[in-house]
């Protein structure tokens, strides 16, 4: 499975997550966001970039509780709460944002 | 009953027994199963260690495993032999169980 943008192909698993993290780019993110029916804004990108950085540091996609806390620490309490994150990613910030960020499905994701 | 430590590796092949002995609190029970039963047989390198452990721990071995290996007649005195029901009883009576994989 997968998709193609401007001649570049991206492989995905049966749930639509990118198989190869290194293939991710902004174009892929935009495509995955459309698939998830998420309209990307600067606030969305901020979370996506945060997730990519988190993955780069720790080699895992964080559970939503951990993501919320870590965002609060870095971007302030007005963003580090589930209300804010669920407004951006209504179907679950960890699951949906991770998919757009090209990360694997979070471990222990409920 | 205090903790039950289960060792299933031969003492000459792996360090599981050494580690279990080192980190078992006095008063706990050590149960040897599978290849672990070689430790409680006379003349094995672990004999001294088993005798030392019996001073403050209860040492048990699963006799079906001893028998399967033909070691039933060389078991060190003082080692308590249990069958599968005895194994279950030990697990049920113990506060917690740790397997030294």
């Amino acid at each position: 499975m997968g998709f193609e943008i401007n001649g570049k192909t991206y492989e995905t698993d049966e749930e639509g997550y990118l198989v190869n993290l290194a293939e991710w780019d902004e174009e892929a993110a935009k495509y995955l966001a459309i698939e998830e029916k998420v309209e990307m804004t600067d606030q969305h990108w901020e979370v996506i970039n945060f997730l990519r950085e988190y993955y780069n540091d720790y080699q895992i996609a964080p559970a939503v509780r951990v993501l919320t806390k870590a965002i609060g620490k870095k971007l302030g309490p007005e963003k580090g709460n589930s209300k804010y994150l669920y407004e951006l990613f209504p179907y679950g910030p960890a699951k949906q944002a991770c998919k757009i960020a090209g990360l694997p499905k979070p471990t222990g994701c409920i | 009953m205090q903790m039950l430590h289960i060792v299933n590796k031969s003492p000459l092949d792996r360090n599981a027994l050494d580690s279990a002995m080192r980190m078992a609190k006095p008063g706990s029970t050590i149960l040897l199963i599978e290849d672990g039963v070689y430790a409680v047989t006379k003349g094995n390198k672990a004999e001294g260690q088993i005798k030392e452990a019996m001073k403050n721990c209860s040492v048990c071995a699963l006799w079906p495993d001893l028998e399967a290996r033909g070691m039933q007649d060389t078991v060190i005195d003082g080692v308590k032999q249990v069958d599968y029901n005895g194994f279950v009883d030990l697990v049920a009576e113990s506060k917690s169980v740790m397997s030294w994989l």
Binding site: T107, I110 | M3, S19, M23, K25
Partner: protein, 126 residues
Amino acid sequence: MEEDMSGTVKKFAFINRKAPYGTIYALESLEVVLISAAFDQDVSLVFADDGVYQLKKGQATKAVGMKNFSPTYRALEGYDIEKLYVEKESMEARGLTTDDLIVDVEVLDAAEMAALLEEQDVVLSF
């Protein structure tokens, strides 16, 4: 564990005694630990024998083509898993000190480790 665990906090210890990469134990343990964090239990991680090698700094797995999961130990704090213990005898037998380890740990000697294990409600071995 047949009893209903809702609302009761139990002491869980994950015992890691295998080196990383050679077997799947270390990675499997880490995944179970991360999942267990969702259940708000009192979790301790113990590293003994070759398990101490899991925490060695400087792991670089590119050439062997495996995922380097050692940075994930640094994420545990964010999951509120802050009790990491290393057995002194195991660490010393491998020529390591806490300076060689990727995370802060508490070093316990064998007798202290025995006491810690005895305190646990559930011990999970990897």
